[in-house]
Structure formats: C-alpha cells, structure tokens
Symmetry: C2
Subunit: 193 residues, 2 copies
DNA sequence: GTCTATAATAAGATAGAC
DNA sequence: GTCTATCTTATTATAGAC
C-alpha cells in the first residue's frame, strides 16, 4: 500500500535530476527531500541509483510526451499548435527563473558514455516525444518521412533552446525558437503543397 | 616554463568534461589522464575544481568559436557555409562513435543552478559562438536583428541535436538538422529580400 | 614547481534487526 | 516495509617538505 512512497521517491528524483543532473544528485538528498523512509529506497529500487534514475527518466518523459499529445490536440493547425507549445514552455521556464527545463538532458549527456541502462531510458523518452510531434505534423499534411525529420529538428531546437536559456538565464531564446519553428513549418508546408 | 603542464591539464579537463560532465569528472582522473605532476593542479588553479572547469570551458568555447569563424570564412554563401559546418560536426561525431559533441552542454546544465562562475563561463562561450554565426549571416544579407535571432536558433538546434545524437547513438540527426537549417535560412532570405 | 601525506567529508551500497 | 549501523571507496582540498 506504499505506492505513495515509491511515487514520491520518483517525483523527487525526477525534479533533482532536472536541476542538478545525475552525479550531483545524492541518494541522501533524494530521501531527505522526498520525506520518505530511509529504508525504502533500496526496497523499491534494488539496483540502486542506476535503476532509480532510469525509472525516473522514463516516467518523466512519458509524462512529457502525454502532455505534448494533449496540448497539441487542443489546437487544430499543427503549425500553430507547435508554436503554442514552445511558447508555453518558454512561459513556464520564465516563471521558474530559468532553473528548470530540459528535464533529462543533463542525465542523458552524463550517462551516454557510462550507463547503457540510463542512456536507453533517455533515448526511448526522446523517441516517444518525437513521435507525438511527428504524428501531429502528419495531420497537417506532411508526409510521414518529412514529419519525422521535422519533429527531430523541433525536438532538438527545443532541447538546445532550454540548455541556452538555463545557461544565459534568458527564456526569450525559446520565444525566438518558437518563431523560427513556426516559420520553418509554414515554409516547408508551402514547398510540399 | 611549465606552460605545457597547465595546458595539458586544461586540455584533459576539457575532454573529460565533454564526455562525462562536471561532477563525474574527478581531479584524480584529470591528473592521471593528463600525465601531469600531482602537485601542479592547485598551483595553477588555486581555487580548485571550479576555477579549472571555468577556464577549461572558456578555452574550449573560444576555440570552438574560432574554428567556426575560419570554417564559415571559407565558403562565401552563408547558407551553404552554415550547412557545411553542421555536416562537418555530424561527420566528426560519427567518427567518434557519438561519444562526444556538445562540449560544454553537460557542464552548463549541471552548473547553471550551483556555480555562478561556471555558469557565466558557459554563457559567455555560447554568446561568442552565436556572434560568429550572426556575423556570417549579416554578410549574407540578413538584418542584424534577424541574423541574431537566427543564429540563436541555429546554435540551439546544433546543441540539442548533439544531445539527441549522443543519446540515441545516431549522428544522422545532425544531418537532418543541417538540411532543415539550410531550408530555414533560404526561406528567411527569400522572405526578407 | 612539485612532492607526499592527510584531513574532512560524502558517496553508493549492504547486513541484519524489527 | 522500514530502520540503523557500517563497509568501502571516492571525493575536494590543505599542509608542509623539498
């Protein structure tokens, strides 16, 4: 009946990984910030930190993809939908002082050369988000192939935009990217139509 | 006369930060991989790891900006030049098994909330690269303002593309981004001209 | 400029009790 | 399911000799 404990551990881990990355986040900090029984961590995650981080990454990206799917579903025009979604990300980042955003980027870079398990969780997470974007673009008239490559570019520019925004403490970078992605999609649509 | 020692420490640090990030890179590993006297690290970098990382980041981004300036200078058409540069990055990343690329992204994310000194070194580094890109675009007929915002988007998509490439072990993502950036720039040029 | 030795702390993980 | 205690190993940093 302590699903709540496991969930709290995962939520806290996810938040700490986003702000600090993998190696800077200690198990002690996770236990303390989640206000969770000390003995529970290795009970729920027998493989320790690597398993915990993999689960947190997977969970977080599933939530991100689901959020994107719903958000994009509320605006008919795919170009406007993608634009609005990036603008929404910029707004959220601005509200939080540019201290968050790119929830798994740090972990992905840290682990890509050291933990295959975490690397795969990150790769699958990015893939899921990309497929949501691509599906929306297909509904806007793009071919499956073109939608897939554009989704990759959108995903990358968002991720990179968040890296730059956090580093420079300037969420307007994402606004600029939203503009350029809108322009790119409109132009691509004209070229194909 | 041991400028060589200091330089070797910085070069090794730069390489380790790129592959592992900040917290995963220990001073012991830096000393061992650089084959440098153990006593030299705190002699050259009295403020320890934070100073060393800041210097390594600044040096690396100065070199990156200078490389971009020269590379872009060899191709007249700014659109083709940017395209060729991203393709060159994709090729290099492919040759190294997608284990490198985005030399300071991990550090920037890890430090953006914990070390103002490192954060600033990263921000200045990104800014320098962006200005090189913008200057090239201005020569292609873009207004200063438009060149600046496009340079931001290009920089972000490259950085994000490298994050995705490293995570998915697929350097073709950067190729796709090169295509889309070329298309974006061509379209933007037509719209403004 | 460089050395060794060491301080001081924190990390991830495990064992065994309850 | 949870607790405490502990093992082992790493970390950054400093002191003082040479």
């Amino acid at each position: 009946m302590s699903k709540a404990t496991r969930d709290k551990i995962l939520a806290t881990t996810s938040s700490l990984l986003e702000r600090q990355g993998y190696h800077a986040t200690g198990l002690a900090q996770i236990v303390s910030e989640s206000a969770t029984p000390r003995g529970s961590l290795y009970y729920y995650f027998p493989d320790g930190k690597e398993e915990l981080a993999s689960e947190a990454v997977a969970l977080r990206m599933r939530a991100t993809a689901e959020f994107a799917r719903r958000f994009l579903g509320e605006i008919n025009d795919p170009v406007e939908a993608v634009y609005a979604m990036i603008m929404d990300m910029a707004e959220k980042m601005s509200k939080q002082g540019c201290g968050t955003g790119a929830p798994i980027a740090a972990v992905a870079l840290e682990a890509s050369n050291s933990s295959e398990r975490i690397r795969k969780a990150c790769a699958d997470g990015y893939q899921g988000l990309q497929e949501v974007l691509a599906a929306k673009l297909v509904m806007g008239g793009f071919s499956a192939e073109r939608a897939s490559s554009l989704a990759m570019t959108i995903n990358a520019s968002i991720e990179g935009g968040m890296v730059l925004s956090r580093t420079k403490h300037d969420s307007d970078i994402l606004v600029s990217i939203a503009d350029d992605m809108k322009f790119l999609l409109r132009s691509a649509l004209q070229a194909s139509g």
